[in-house]
Symmetry: C2
Subunit: 125 residues, 2 copies
């Protein structure tokens, strides 16, 4: 039985979906067009840039994003292929890896971040 409360919930949810997709889509398209990387790539890049003191990243990354461990691994693959990031082995635990921005990665990140923040401001008000 469809209560008014149900209707409200559904409307609220649709509105969240719309603004989520609108925002994510706008950022994704802009980054793709201007920097040739997708939103997820940028977000990993952003996380790596944030924690500029080392650590066994990969693991930590997984905890800061809704992406799957395997998705993170593939995003990093692409970033590495694009020469934006490099995987470094971890001396104290050789299963772990930590990530470093390359020069190119650092450069791209700082331009892309400006765009990213601008679009967030525009879309989140």
């Amino acid at each position: 039985m469809a209560t008014t409360r149900d209707r409200q919930l559904v409307e609220q949810w649709r509105s969240i979906q719309n603004s989520y997709f609108r925002t994510a889509g706008a950022i994704d398209r802009a980054l793709e067009a201007k920097f040739d990387i997708g939103l997820n790539e940028f977000e990993i890049l952003d996380l790596v840039a944030e924690s500029e003191e080392s650590a066994c990243r990969m693991k930590a990354l997984g905890e800061r994003t809704p992406m799957t461990q395997s998705a993170v691994s593939k995003v990093v693959d692409r970033l590495e292929k694009a020469g934006l990031v490099s995987r470094q082995t971890c001396a104290d635990d050789r299963r772990s890896l930590f990530l470093e921005l390359t020069e190119a990665g650092r450069a791209l990140h700082s331009s892309a971040a400006v765009e990213h923040r601008a679009l967030l401001k525009e879309n989140l008000g």
Copy 2:
């Protein structure tokens, strides 16, 4: 240059992403487990159920969801294969189609909707 305002925007965005994925994921898993349909399938079913007076649906559907026209077409494929919906040709414009719930579709929708609303309430507060 990373302003405090930028940090706030990024935090806000991550929080939106997290709650979006948490909610969507929870609903998707529940519907998948109990009714064997995904979230997008349910949402199309829900839209069709909502507009129980006919019309040339497919088109209208595309306007009520952030999904692509082609995504809608494929979701409807699956719903049709599952016997939950049927495509009816439109007399006045033979390019268009409108959709109808089958009996099974109506039944599944009304159970699934309860679950859906409950999870929305739980997740959106």
